[in-house]
Amino acid sequence: MANEKMIYIHPAPVRVWHWVNAACFVLLVITGFQIRFAGTLGLMPLKDAINIHNYIGFLTIANYSIWLYYYFSTGKIKIYFPNPKTFIGNAIKQIQYYGFGIFLGKPNPHVMTPENKFNALQQKAYAALMFVFVPAQMITGVFMWQLKTYSNYIDQLGGIKVIDTIHVILFFFFASFLVIHCYLATLGHTPLAHFKAMFTGYEEHH
């Protein structure tokens, strides 16, 4: 324990946002499966699934707005944008670590700090997630919440089938992301280290 150092990585607003978002994602995926496979799954009545999906969807949008405001107002948003000069090298090191070094017990090439908490791969993945995939899912979700109200936009984007397809493909992607994200969270110095840190805010450095 002597060589452990606690570093405050995750501020309270980020932790609250993260867990609210996590709960919303899980509920959206469960209700999403029920909506998609209404005739096959029997988790809950379709009407309830749709209503829960709608309410949780708006909660997710509100939560995202808080995240966006917090990260932009504090300037922390830059942690999502990698340095173009070092990105490729860092990404290769990170791929080597996850694909090989981790099995040999090699140290993680990325050292987490409050100013640079994501490794190169996380930066790229989360930037795509937070600035492309999540907004696309929210916009298509709102369109499908009131089809008639947004019919002009839907038609301009190619019709309801196109909107539905984008929403469904992203839904499958997010369902898969939840699995991978939870697994990657076990890759700390102990399997629960990152989980604890997302509650306390402190990551242990060795």
């Binding site: 009545p45 379709l46 017990g105 397809t165 369902a175 699995v179 991978i180 697994y183």
Partner: protein, 372 residues
Amino acid sequence: MKTTSLFHLLFIVFLSCLWPSVLLATDNSECMDCHSDEGLTREAAGDVSLSRMSDQLFLDNDKFHLSVHHLNEISCVDCHSDIEELNYDNEIPHKAHLEPVNCTACHEAEGEAFSQSVHMEIRGKGITMQCYACHGYHYVKRLASASVAERENLFCLKCHNADNYHDWLPQKQAHFAFVECTVCHAPTVPSHIHLNFYDLVTNKFFNGNQIIEALGIGFDEFLPLIDTNKDNIINTNEFEDLLLILRQKNIYTEVHAELVVELEPILHNVIKGGSTNECEKCHSADSPLFDAVAIVLTLEDGSAEHYEVEKDVLNSFSMSSFSALGGTRVKFLDKIGLLVILGGICGAGGHLFIRLVTAPLRRRNKENEQDS
């Protein structure tokens, strides 16, 4: 001479046989002599029980000519059967107050279905609903080609404000736009999906003649042109080919799908509490609502030519403007989704497996580091 006399005699006998019907058969044109006058109105009845919904007695002959009754050669006196003869010596050549028309004299099955309906039940509350409350009087049109909006506006929405009673229904405006009221409220009536061609240039529906003229064929040649495998049903590939052909003919169209009921007498059996609010009954892949699909080429008289289409067309991207949750989902996406989720599970599981297998190696490496 003898032969000629016999012929005259037979002719007189023939005429005498016709005499009563010649006397009774009042031609529509005779009625229109007076009723084409836009100013013709009924005098206010002293007896309020003889009052009618409208005082106007004018009849628009052009609109009447497009009515289903005129097209079926039903004359005025076939319905207004209490007019036995016209006496032009009088100011009004027939009875001033005619009996209400008895539609069920011809439409017996419709009357039977109606008698079991909620619209008959309301008579218990003192409200009498006659056929013409929904159908109107003289301009009853064929409805086979009518859109959901036309059907709703002409009938249910005259009295009912659907918006007030469907707050439980997700996407209620979309349901109102794509599903005819009676699909749910007369649930014993068969229904089918109408596919219409919407003109993206003029923002109006193409009628059948426009489509047929653009293709340079007759109505009889439409199915043989599209149904290349000659099974009398248009499959997804043939449907996509049709859209391509139309595009080549400068018809820029979007296919519009609507769920409408078959125009059968039982349609009048609208019942209270008979509709379902279980979404799954409609929104599932095996829902019968999506089994019958037809391209509809509409005709000017309100009739339509139907061409059967495979239900899989609804699940395809050719139907860009129609999607019913569960019922018409693109199943190919489910396969992609399964692969994406399995990929995530296998990736994480595989990585975990290698971590578990290589745990002794890491332990040994750590011990070596500590020893050194």
